[in-house]
Symmetry: C2
Subunit: 416 residues, 2 copies
């Protein structure tokens, strides 16, 4: 099958000079890759006519699809539209649909459409308008000798909606892109190489049309299955079957799929089993509570947390026995066990979670170097504990500990 | 003065296909911009010989300086080095300094240097080695007709150290780059347009050689002063004088400069005045404690926090009067005042901080829509409170509230 080639052009001085990060082009590449369009080049240029016209000529010679973002604002330093008019040898005309959209946006703000903004509804005569449901700058679609040029605003949420609702479906139709099905399998609690060892036979027996990629991130490994085929339903079923076999091998490490987040999955498990939790976190300093409460609806299973950052607060607020801390230290199995049990009792929850450790850079002793961290989950009958020996880096320690404790909670909930 | 032009080339399929974000090129652009080198283009291509050779030719025709990252790993799909050998018509020879570096890295790991890795010390004969103090892939510097090509590994911390320690100083010397001095002035508690109105005369009276840029981000505005001149000390002094005048106008909004973070600045103020804090956070769910404890050494002024996510926890753990909640609601000035005062008393701190609000999407009432949030700071004598009317978005509400409360704390500390 012939590859369909695409090129991405990002226009804007603020990106060229490093004032803002270009997050658009990564998102666009990933979306195009998903539908089987091959990206050949990504280019960032500044807001100058010469550069814009040059890159359009260059890109046309290399790719079938040229996607352009940026430079569509209402001010004089936004040059993309006049350059497109020049490049396609056309002229600007008022586009009624674009004007209607613009007017309705200003109506909502209770403002009249200014002359400057009105000009945003003037589009090149030879283009098809790409609707912008989130902002004032319309997109533009040009066909030229079988090639496609699309110009979009640089504002990420405007661009993303145009791409998913309009541009990608239209490109798939125009170029009859191959059928590709992606599925992410998300694992936690196992490293990349250990995982690879367990699933090596499964991986080697994957059919020709299914590819596997390992995508490791902090304390987690994602497996991406990419399947190619002729019929959408058939491809999906093939992937489902393979995942069923995979599950037999590594079931307890798989916490979710695609966009699932560990803290959301744990929250759903709590909701379903009608249980709730409280957290006592020392070295993680509020991060675990923050992760849990980032999920809307978390008040359905999260009753609260305490961060006893000093030993006397552990004793006075959390009722940890001062002798436990004196004998074993704050970073110990004994202390973290009392923390988990006590937060559970004080907050009247089904489960109590706790962390205590040395996040670094300070606080280490020869026996307890930076990265020594204890975690615990208690349900009143049993307390599960674990000692983690992590990194030299404070941020990595905090984030890895949160994942480890959420995973410990997940495993406890699976037991029941 | 003639502009010195640079181009950045990023090589790697994983970036081209959107599997990872290219954070390198933004960092490099910003660093080059700081020393007065003008970036003209940034390009990402895949690991193919044809693309690499093409882009080198193209870039040479446009720029004085061509900076390349990626494709220097030890495996066969890393093609940058063989392409450079071809492009500069040279051959690989063993570089003794690179081999010594490589050997010392493997010694530390207690491993012998494998044949595959040994090849990483072979460099093109005509290049100068750029030392890599963080990894096994050496950088390469080529001079050609007054133009410079530098190839670096794609691993961010390796590339950054090479750039700051070796490449940028060498480029500044070779091209006698102009003297440019940047200073960031960081403000909080005032919007961009209000700020602009207050400082309009100051801005209009800036000398020709000093430029101002507004860099707004969530609940903060950074002002960047960029000064050009002949002598480094003189330029620095000019900027200092301008900032002194600026301070007279907007002193209370300026919390820091350059890399200062609001939570660090507040921490330093607490340390200096020998005071400590505790936090009771409801709608922010642990995020403020997390921000504070992200700073190493925060245990010197942070005694702990409590997240009473349910009303009965506010009553039982934080001793908020249940009648207060019943009469005024959890999201009220009365409740947040008791939260701030009580956490201060219970944790025995100088200051108590508190938040209570509706982060969304659920929990709203007609009187209290999503984004209604109360914050408070108490020192036992006086409690300062403020009602925020923020966004529809949960994440934005949590983050904006954290900044507003840290700023309220900063202002209270300035009063004393």
């Amino acid at each position: 099958m012939k590859n369909i080639l695409a090129e991405i052009i990002t226009i804007g001085d603020e990106i060229l000079y490093g004032q803002i990060v270009d997050s658009n082009s990564q998102w666009m590449s990933a979306e195009l890759d998903k539908v089987g369009i091959k990206i050949v080049r990504k280019t960032t240029i500044g807001d100058t006519e010469e550069e814009i016209l040059n890159i359009l000529t260059e890109a046309e010679s290399r790719a079938d699809i040229i996607l352009i973002t940026g430079g569509l604002g209402p001010t004089n330093d936004d040059l993309t539209k006049p350059c497109l008019v020049k490049y396609f040898d056309t002229k600007l005309v008022m586009n009624e649909a674009a004007l209607t959209n613009l007017t309705s946006i200003f109506d909502k703000l209770g403002k009249p459409v200014s002359e400057v903004n009105r000009k945003q509804a003037e589009l090149p005569e030879t283009c098809e308008m790409v609707p912008n449901n989130m902002g004032t700058a319309a997109g533009m679609w040009f066909d030229k000798n079988g090639k496609t040029f699309v110009s979009m605003p640089g504002v990420p949420h405007e661009m993303k909606l145009m791409m998913t609702d309009f541009i990608i479906p239209k490109l798939q139709k125009k170029y009859s892109t191959p059928i590709i099905h992606h599925k992410l399998v998300k694992t936690v609690g196992i490293g990349e190489s250990d995982l690879a060892e367990i699933i090596v036979d499964w991986e080697n027996n994957l059919p020709e049309n299914i590819k596997l990629a390992y995508l490791p991130s902090l304390a987690q490994v994602k497996l991406r299955l990419t399947a190619f085929g002729d019929a959408s339903k058939q491809v999906e079923n093939e992937v489902k079957q393979q995942i069923a076999s995979l599950k037999k091998l590594v079931s307890k490490y798989i916490y979710g799929y695609d966009k699932d987040q560990l803290q959301e999955v744990v929250g759903q498990m709590l909701l379903k089993s009608n249980q709730n939790i409280a957290v006592a976190e020392s070295c993680t300093g509020g991060y675990i509570s923050h992760l849990i409460t980032s999920t809307p609806g978390s008040s359905g299973y999260f009753r609260g947390a305490i961060t006893p950052y000093q030993n006397d607060i552990k004793v006075n607020m959390l009722h940890v026995n001062s002798e436990t801390i004196f004998e074993h230290g704050a970073v110990s199995e004994e202390t973290v066990t009392e923390m988990a049990e006590n937060v559970r009792k004080l907050y009247h929850t089904d489960l109590g979670l706790a962390t205590s450790g040395i996040a670094g850079p300070g606080g280490a002793t020869p026996e307890k170097p930076v990265g020594t961290i204890w975690i615990a989950v208690s349900d009143g009958k049993k307390t599960t504990t674990k000692k983690l020996q992590l990194w030299k880096d404070r941020e990595l320690n905090i984030k890895s500990t949160a994942i480890a404790l959420l995973n410990m909670t997940r495993l406890r909930l699976l037991e029941k």
